[in-house]
Symmetry: C2
Subunit: 453 residues, 2 copies
């Protein structure tokens, strides 16, 4: 039984996970290149130990992919586990209560960058896989594909899939990189939003100027940047990029009714996040706003004097990182063009405005009558004692759209994250009970698979 | 003759100036407290060497004041030289071509933070004073008041003046902390703008959030901060704080005509600053916009992810440093209140908006029929070979309003800065020829004084 296996090997399992968590594999920072290679090598060692027949570190245009294959029987179906070994930057450091890359167990949680996203979650597949290999009870062939660029929108993965189409051939992809509604409301993500991400730069003079001597006659790039950003959404929260909503999927009344049945406590949500009120596009509920509607968020902004006290300056430049989350039928490349045209249209002629498209990802929908979805549903029902709700979530995992497009397979998003895991934030963590329950559910999924395929 | 004196002592004079420039006396950063004390002590030594009868370092609520007094004859008038020994922060470091606190002479300029503002300019008074002491040709009593908080709006100086009203008694204040129109268009500043400065902070959730999971339903503090800033000015550049313009001085048509006669090459201005076009309040010229009209400038902004590449995050907080330049009759405290009310009115209720008033300074006007102004005018005319133009400039030196209010004396703003000096910016510098010409003009001012007083 998996429960006994976990108890028996707990020490070793956690030590193996910690060996991954200790590596600062931050993909968005070129300074961490060596750490990416170390992290890939660490996964290679683990997958060999688990019982894979072959493990390879394969080059891509960016960070390498770790690929593993357990060949049980060519007549059986093949499941491919997808995960990523890169993590988000740990900043701001000062808000962490523990060291981001010194994982610790405290109060029943694993604390550290990647504890959930996605080292913790993909490591649960490793444990289930190792258990099934060791107990000789794998009912299918299993592949692992672990990439190192998910947090920067997987720029190399599509090309990698095209080049290794045969090697990656499979019937379903399993992904644990999403979250559940709550610990006692299990859910499976059936939709993900896409993403388009830009940097916007406004330049006025060729150097910082004295705001007294030049202020009022020379445009201030921060004032101008703020005006541009303010023109991205109207007062009702609608995005004002022209034709932005043209391809947005109109969700049926039936699905809207299903969405409205998802248990959701808005007051609890507000309390948990410490917000005065929710806020978003007029005419939509919180679940709709984060699930079926696109968004516009400034992820970062900077310019001028940001130190202690006062400094009067008319800065030369101001910068912002802009992102939109996209819903089914919106294409990131199309949105990229629309944004370019809109910025061109609204940019004032007395400053230089530079828009750089940095990354994109496509949205995804998983039908709930898919056999593998049903196997996952049965596994959750057995382990959690409740049937999991199918929900569309707001995050983006561009690769599931790539797997569909290039490999022709659907992904099952068996995510075990919780909102309190603080992924992408300081004090990322993963509860030990969810770590164990997730491993049980994944193990059970393999058990259920034969009933549905 | 002062020219010969300068040639003979050039080495020593520059070495003395460099001893001031080497001290990072950044008043806005509490970490530089020791440097403030070192800089005051350095000035004390210099003024003793120059021949002052008494030199004192006097405490204030903040950084100390250096006070010096040369008592020539109690029946003669007294001139007080005002300057400041604090400097602006050197950031951004990466744009400096030399070390900000390692002054060097290159291409006929002195390079370093404070080379002009205000160590360089106040040091010119020191040299002229020393020469006049040594040659026994001082026609009046002279005091020096050097403060260490000008760049943070002189928070302690008013109280200091009140407490030392008798010690500081004088007939005129001389200030060299402004600039001229250009090297061949000498000018004397007859007006300065006031200032009000705030920090604005927008808080949404209690921690950074995943922009995919929460984006669209939880307000983004950067989006909201930008919207607030965008609402500070309308499309014509008019400031929208209610009643902001109520006290703005209506400049007479006669003065407007004088302003329009100031030689000004808009194309050259644009080329020098590298801007596509000037931009400001509709209906006013560049000289008017920087001289007689108030402004709204964001001096700094920050929030979210500002590193390399992409990070999708819905940040918890966003910050901005806001400033307005004020014109005669506008009072910084009144503007502070108006801003507070306006922000309260426009702030959305779903985020926390915190406005902190950081500093203020009052505007100033110097009448051009003042005897001491006429002496300065005569000195410029003799040394530059041209009559200096009286101009209202956009900068703020709050203390001149304090001197008027507390000591009942007017200040003569004999500034020798040039736009190319890059004060408050990287690569601050001061041309050696202006350093010498300024010392000659100040010396000549003392010579002219007896003709006008």
């Amino acid at each position: 039984m998996i429960q006994e296996y976990l108890k028996l090997h707990e020490q070793e399992i956690l030590e193996d996970l910690f060996s991954l968590l200790r590596i600062p594999s931050v993909s968005s920072d070129a300074g961490h290149h060596e750490d990416m290679l170390r992290c890939a090598a660490c996964w290679e060692t683990l997958l060999q130990k688990a019982g894979a027949d072959e493990v390879q570190i394969l080059p891509t245009a960016g960070n390498p992919v770790v690929f593993a294959w357990k060949k049980v029987n060519p007549n059986l179906p093949t499941v491919m586990v997808y995960g990523h070994y890169d993590v988000m930057p740990p900043e701001p450091f000062e808000l962490w209560k523990t060291e981001p890359f010194e994982p610790v167990i405290k109060d029943g949680h694993i604390w550290g960058r990647g504890a959930d996203d996605d080292k913790g979650q993909s490591f649960m597949h490793y444990v289930a896989f190792r258990y099934l290999c060791e107990s000789g009870s794998l009912p299918c062939n299993v592949k692992f594909l672990l990439e190192g660029e998910e947090e920067i929108s997987s720029p190399s993965l599509e090309q990698f899939c095209v080049e290794h189409r045969d090697l990656l051939a499979c019937d379903y992809v399993l992904v644990s990189d999403t979250s559940m509604l709550s610990a006692d409301t299990p859910s499976i993500t059936t939709g993900l939003r896409g993403l388009a991400y830009w940097q916007l730069e406004v330049t006025s003079a060729c150097r910082d100027l004295h705001s007294g001597i030049f202020g009022g006659a020379v445009a201030n790039p921060i004032n101008e940047l703020c005006k541009l950003i303010a023109r991205m959404q109207d007062d009702s929260g609608r995005i004002m990029i022209l034709h932005f909503y043209d391809d947005v999927e109109n969700v049926s009344d039936e699905e809207k009714t299903l969405i409205s049945q998802i248990p959701f406590d808005e007051e609890q949500y507000k309390t948990d996040l410490g917000i005065r009120n929710t806020h978003g596009e007029a005419g939509y509920s919180t679940i709709e706003r984060t699930g079926i509607r696109p968004t516009f968020d400034v992820c970062g902004i900077w310019g001028g004097y940001t130190g202690e006290g006062t400094k009067t300056v008319l800065p030369a430049k101001a910068f912002a990182k802009l992102s939109t989350r996209l819903v089914p039928h919106q294409r990131s490349q199309v949105i990229g063009k629309l944004m370019e045209e809109y910025v061109k249209q609204i940019a004032p002629d007395y400053v230089q405005v530079k828009l750089t498209y940095l990354h994109g990802a496509e949205s995804y929908v998983c039908p709930i009558d898919l056999p593998a979805y049903k196997a996952a549903e049965a596994a959750y029902t057995k382990v959690f004692g409740k049937r999991p709700l199918p929900v569309r979530r707001g995050g983006s995992i561009g690769v599931v759209a790539v797997f569909e497009k290039v490999l022709g397979v659907k992904s099952i998003l068996m995510g075990f994250g919780l909102e309190s895991d603080a992924i992408h934030s300081p004090n990322e963590n993963f509860p030990l009970f969810m770590f164990r329950t997730g491993i049980e559910t994944i193990t059970e999924f393999y058990g259920q698979l034969k009933n549905y395929l």
